[in-house]
């Protein structure tokens, strides 16, 4: 039925369940709800309850999906990818414009952000691609890279023109990580890196919108524009830094509670946490995220075949890059580009896509064993 062979008898789900992954996920989710409850006090809206609901739904979807073997993704990979690309094109024509960018697609009661789905679609397709290609002796050369490059480039460009630089680069980073997990010749790698740099320069002059350039410039020197576009980055750094070792205490963060911190439920949720829980809290959270990623990589290593391994790598890349870019941006290490922090940031799209990728990890884990 599938090139992978007929799935064997239903695995013993409970026995093979990656309990560590689940516990880590639940721990982060718990912190998320607690933290949002503090941030909610300002918004006068109990977003933490909604978040609890979204996390519950996401977790439910992930657990239920465990009963379906991930190898079925092999057959639906291309259709999924195709559908998401269509949605991305559709959002261009029928999308809802929020803050100057067309990102949302409204389908009846559901507001959908196809660019979020694109990240997963790229993971699924690349996993299938690398499963089919197998390992090239001596590694992939430049001529072998055009197909994965195309798979990444189509959604990348579609999202970039929404415009949504943050999500577009997330797609590129996740796809790129998966490409790196395959074997690549050094020369090809250097060439790609070089042309990437040229592309970046080209993008600066021809592709990026003024507000995006301004953000990047502000990032270089946030103090120069304290009340304009540097405001977010500055207030966020003040929030993080003022937490010091012990934090100001739950619901005691002045930056958070007095509204100095922008977007505190979504993109800047880490600043809320760091302000109120201090460095020890931040270390705990970073530790949990690291644990999540390392557990995911172990699942990749233990995967039954390349398909599972690349799916797991994609899921880990998804989680890692979100964590890295989000915390990097709220701590002033990266420009402010609107990337959410997995599980911590409030929002349905984010919660569900993150939990789906964790569900994929769990799925690969429960069906592992061939490699080990």
């Amino acid at each position: 039925m599938s090139p992978l062979g007929v799935p064997g008898r239903r695995p013993d789900l409970l026995r093979r369940m990656p309990w560590g992954l689940l516990a880590t996920t639940l721990a982060i989710a718990g912190i998320s709800v607690l933290n949002l409850a503090s941030a909610s006090r300002v918004a006068h809206a109990p977003v933490w309850i909604s978040q609890l609901a979204w996390l519950g739904v996401g977790l439910g979807v992930a657990l239920v999906s465990l009963s379906v073997d991930y190898r079925r993704l092999h057959s639906v990979a291309w259709p999924t990818y195709g559908l998401v690309m269509i949605l991305l094109v559709a959002v261009h024509f029928h999308g809802q414009t929020v803050m100057g960018a067309q990102r949302w697609l409204v389908l009846g009661p559901i507001r959908l952000q196809p660019s979020e789905l694109a990240k997963l679609a790229v993971v699924v397709v690349l996993a299938r691609f690398y499963h089919e290609e197998g390992e090239k002796p001596g590694g992939y050369g430049l001529s072998d890279l055009w197909r994965p490059a195309l798979i990444i480039a189509i959604p990348f460009l579609l999202i970039l023109q929404q415009p949504d630089l943050g999500t577009a680069s997330m797609v590129a980073a996740i796809g790129g990580t998966m490409v790196l997990a395959s074997r690549i010749r050094w020369r090809a790698l250097l060439l790609v890196a070089g042309s990437g740099a040229i592309a970046a320069v080209g993008a600066w002059f021809f592709v990026l919108h003024d507000y995006q350039k301004k953000r990047l410039l502000t990032f270089m020197n946030p103090e120069a524009d304290m009340l304009g576009s540097g405001y977010h980055a500055n207030q966020s750094m003040i929030a993080v830094g003022s937490g010091q070792w012990a934090g100001k205490g739950w619901a005691q963060g002045t930056q958070t509670q007095l509204s100095f911190l922008p977007e505190q439920h979504t993109d800047f949720v880490f600043s809320v946490f760091a302000e109120e829980w201090g460095f020890r809290g931040a270390l705990l959270l970073l530790g949990l995220f690291l644990l999540l990623c390392l557990l995911g990589l172990r699942i990749a290593i233990q995967a039954r075949e390349r398909h599972g391994a690349f799916l797991a790598v994609g899921a880990v890349a998804f989680l890692f890059w979100h964590v890295f870019v989000n915390i990097g941006m709220v701590s002033g290490l990266l420009p402010v580009v609107g990337v959410t922090l997995p599980l911590m940031s409030y929002g349905g799209s984010s919660a569900i896509t993150v939990l789906i990728s964790i569900g994929i990890l769990a799925n690969v884990a429960t069906r592992s064993g061939r490699f080990s």
Partner: protein, 659 residues
């Protein structure tokens, strides 16, 4: 074989995944390092900045000090007033609210446009910053705005003390007025660490300006907790330590003038002419008791709401109401200058009689005396009494111009007096060196003949003339004219005390000074004297008329009605009294007023009359009669300005507490 390849592939994939694990760990470590840098390394800095974020420092403005007269009567204080502000973020339909407000307040276009543009321009957080709509609401406007508050969202009425010049125009040029700090002044104040902010008011002229640093006081500070939008959060005040929440302001010091408000009022009333000035000086101290400058201005208008159109009207008025004529303009002194030239002549031995045949011939030109038929034989005293020009021409011919210039300088002419009220002009004392420099052809004897009768290039300020007559009256001591007795803190402690200050002593022979004084006495007390007709009988006075030509009109003398206003002569009168034991000197300049005797002397006489009346009153009620002492018991200052008139409340404990 195939299996071994597979095994190698798998090993290599695992190896790469292992490296990914290392990369991920390094990435997270980098984040942890960054967070460590922010929270631990720079934590204290950022903590301080986060505190700075929510602590909003509100200024507690200090009460500006009062300006009171020598007896403690309040001339300038502060009254409660209300300003209207609009906060764009809080009015839903700002344009409509502004329109409604404009109708109720009767806003002028200028203000309306300013508010509308401020509203349109405000973006983001700026919209939370209140915009001043109108200052100092009228009582009616205040009632209307308060009553319709529900229709005016985002509109706030905020109480702010406003400067109150209780007597309106009276003494306006002395007191000065306040105005918004200019960019230049702001820059200067910042260099000096003055603590001004844009939009602050400061003294622009007069005492308000000269004593700005004393009057101003020190602003206090209130620290409140505010959120990112600037809204106060009183429930969170515990976040600021108690002792840091409030720093009280320190009120400014009070300035006590040498002016006697009653005499000032009388002098203002006595000066019933279009333009000019009257200076009343205590001859034994140099303190000024009253100084009038007309036309006047109401400092209340200048300090408060004044439209640009009104301001332009004042600035473009040909009579220059802003000009403080006692010091900021100079005039030919005419015959009032003769005391200086005669004293110079006497000191240089020119003490003899001169025959006046109606003029004096020097070379090919003839200098006319004002009496064409001539005065006959003139002694120095008689020459003064009838203001015979010929005697002076003869003296000038004999002695030259430098002798007079030297005496002028001893009297303090040609230099600013040191009243220190700003924009003072020094006047001109012509000398050989002066004419060699500025006159084509250089100095010639004829120039001395013009200068000797206070014409030519001779120019003085009325205050300088008052100084000259005070010097003659007190026997030869030149005092610096002063306007301020002392500066006191609100609690009554003295900050600065201004004692009489001797600028110079004439060092002339007493018999020569006596000749001058006798001449001045005869002028007013013997028939035929130029000041005899309009004299006051009690007490005996000594004075001199002056009629200064503004333009030279050839040989024909026109009457003043026949001339354009600005071509008419200036009328002077200078007098001191009592003649034997002088107390005060009064100098009146009636600008383009005509003849000294008819157009300036009556004003001076009314002032003198009032002065001696007041002296009598004060002697009868000594409680108010002692200078340099504040009345111990007086009615408390009311908050409302008096309905007008010179009756001013006294500075006392109650007023201090209220002020």
């Amino acid at each position: 074989m195939k299996l071994s390849i597979r095994a190698r592939e798998e090993r290599e994939l695992k190896g790469r995944l292992g490296w990914l694990g290392v990369a991920v760990s390094l990435g997270i470590l980098l984040l942890a390092g960054r967070v460590w840098y922010l929270q631990i390394r720079k934590g204290e800095d950022y903590f301080a900045r986060s505190s700075g974020n929510f602590v909003k420092e509100l200024r507690v403005p200090a009460d500006r000090g009062m300006i009171v007269d020598r007896k403690g009567r309040i001339l300038v204080d502060n009254r409660p007033s209300y300003d209207v502000y609009l906060t764009p973020a809080f009015c839903q339909d700002c344009d409509e609210v502004i329109g409604r407000l404009a109708g109720q307040l009767g806003l002028e276009d200028e203000d309306l446009i300013r508010v509308v543009t401020a509203n349109e321009k405000a973006r983001g957080l700026e919209r939370f910053r209140p915009v001043l709509v109108q200052q100092d609401l009228t009582r009616d406007a205040l009632d209307v705005v308060e009553a319709r508050k529900d229709l005016l969202p985002g509109v706030d009425v905020i109480g702010a003390p406003h400067r109150n010049y209780r007597a309106g125009e009276m003494g306006a040029h002395l007191l000065g007025y306040l105005g918004e700090i200019s960019p230049d002044e702001f820059e200067k104040a910042r260099e000096e660490g003055g603590g001004y902010r844009p939009g602050d008011y400061l003294g622009k002229r007069g005492i308000e300006r000269r004593f700005e640093s004393r009057l101003r006081g020190i602003d206090g500070l209130e620290r409140v907790v505010a959120d990112a939008k600037g809204r106060k959060l009183p429930e969170l005040e515990a976040m600021i330590p108690q002792e840091q929440r409030y720093v009280p302001s320190q009120p400014g010091a009070n300035v006590i003038l040498t002016i006697d408000a009653r005499l000032q009022a009388a002098a203002e009333e006595a000066f019933d002419q279009t333009a000019g000035t009257a200076v009343v000086m205590d001859v034994n101290t140099g303190y000024l008791l009253a100084v009038v400058s007309k036309p006047g201005i109401d400092p209340n208008r200048l300090t408060g709401r004044i439209s640009r159109a009104e301001l332009r009207e004042i600035m473009e008025d040909p009579l220059e109401p802003m000009l403080f004529r006692a010091t900021q303009n100079h005039y030919h002194p005419g015959s009032v200058f003769k005391v200086v030239s005669q004293l110079a002549a006497l000191e240089h031995g020119f003490t003899h009689d001169v025959f006046c045949g109606g003029g004096y011939t020097l070379g090919r030109r003839r200098w006319r005396c004002h009496k064409e038929s001539g005065h006959g034989h003139m002694s120095p005293e008689d020459a003064m009494k009838v203001s015979c020009d010929t005697w002076f021409y003869a003296a000038a011919d004999k002695l030259g111009i430098d002798v007079m210039a030297e005496m002028s300088e001893r009297m303090g002419l040609g230099k600013v007096t040191g009243l220190d009220l700003g924009y003072e002009v020094p006047g001109v004392v012509p000398s050989v060196a002066y004419h060699d420099k500025v006159t084509p052809g250089g100095y010639q004897k004829g120039l001395a003949l013009n200068a000797v009768i206070g014409q030519g290039d001779s120019n003085v300020t009325p205050l300088q003339m008052a100084m000259v007559y005070a010097t003659i009256a007190n026997g030869g001591t030149v005092y610096r004219p002063q306007l301020v007795l002392r500066v006191e803190r609100a609690d009554g402690t003295v900050v600065e005390d201004f004692l009489p200050e001797v600028k110079n002593r004439l060092g002339v022979k007493p018999e020569n000074l006596a000749i001058i004084r006798r001449g001045l006495e005869k002028t007013m007390n013997e028939p035929g004297g130029t000041g005899y007709r309009r004299r006051l009988k009690e007490p005996r006075m000594a004075g001199k008329t002056g009629t200064a030509q503004v333009v030279r009109i050839g040989n024909v003398r026109l009457r003043k009605e026949q001339m354009d206003y600005f071509n008419r002569d200036h009328a002077w009168f200078a007098v001191y009294a009592p003649a034997e034991e002088p107390e005060i000197a009064v100098v009146v300049l009636n600008e383009h007023g005509g003849h000294g005797g008819s157009d300036a002397q009556p004003i001076a006489m009314r002032i003198m009359e009032r002065y001696f009346e007041l002296m009598k009153e004060d002697r009868a009620a000594p409680a108010h009669g002692v200078d340099r002492e504040i009345a111990p018991a007086a009615p408390p200052a009311s908050i409302d300005a008096p309905s007008g008139g010179p009756e001013l409340p006294f500075l006392d404990r109650a007023a201090r507490a209220a002020g």
